[in-house]
Symmetry: C2
Subunit: 159 residues, 2 copies
């Protein structure tokens, strides 16, 4: 028995629940959470490039390329060279992608959201700040390697 066993098991439960939800979504809508996150970023970022998307949703560039490949294959997004710098690529939603995005499910389990929204405000804050505290304690070591940017820095339009 370690002093962090309970923490570890709770974290496993959370990541597993998220993973299972992602797989359920894929069966139901043909979209995983990660793919949805990418589409979400495309909508929210001004002139979205793979690297900007990667930063905004905390994935490596290689992973984003992979996810975009899949979205392209399903006809939901397209790669376009729009800027003058020919190294960069902009990702845009197709008509079909727009539609799918409109109808997209939430990024967290509806049951979870229902419960979460039932909580008092202070309770929500307590949960969020605890989780965020753990996140900070946990990813501190990575921060040098790949700095967490603020939303502003990557051109998120707040709305």
């Amino acid at each position: 028995m370690k002093d962090y066993d309970e923490l570890l098991i709770s974290l496993r439960r959370i990541t597993r629940a998220i993973d299972l939800y992602s797989k359920r979504l894929q069966k139901e809508t043909n979209l995983t959470i990660s793919q949805l996150l990418v589409m979400d970023a495309i909508v929210k970022i001004d002139k979205p490039t793979p690297s900007a998307i990667a930063k905004s949703i905390l994935l490596s560039q290689a992973t984003v390329t992979n996810l975009i490949d899949r979205l392209v294959k399903n006809g939901l997004v397209e790669r376009k060279r729009l800027g003058t710098d020919k190294r960069t690529i902009n990702i845009v939603l197709t008509q079909q992608g727009e539609q799918k995005y409109q109808d997209a499910p939430e990024l967290l389990q509806s049951e979870f959201l229902r419960k979460y929204r039932e909580l008092e405000n202070w309770e929500q804050h307590l949960l969020v700040s605890a989780i965020s505290r753990v996140a900070t304690m946990m990813d501190a070591e990575e921060i040098d390697a790949s700095p967490i940017l603020t939303l502003g820095e990557i051109g998120i339009r707040d709305q």
Copy 2:
């Protein structure tokens, strides 16, 4: 902006930090967190079978089979038929596996553990109970499909 954006990003930070730590461990020790969890379960469970291991560390049986394959390939565990029921297989550590298990690193980042252990007791409890609450809110839907067992039910020896 969704009302759960901050939560989502914190959860991503946590899962990412864990994943990166796992990959770092693999480079340094040739063992991932998942593989370590399996070895841990083997030590703690009486007559460990793939299914018992899967239940105890919250992974599907298929995943555990996969992890065991890898451990076998690296000479750390062996599959043995010990019981009378010829369907079941018991997993045992090899000599080398024992050794590796002794020297194994912690399952969470040492930096995280250092910070965690510096906290006051009440603060630790606050974090753990918040995380565990989120876990409960999140995996409630899965519980029917695959019930979370107590440690006792799968034969964990406490200590």
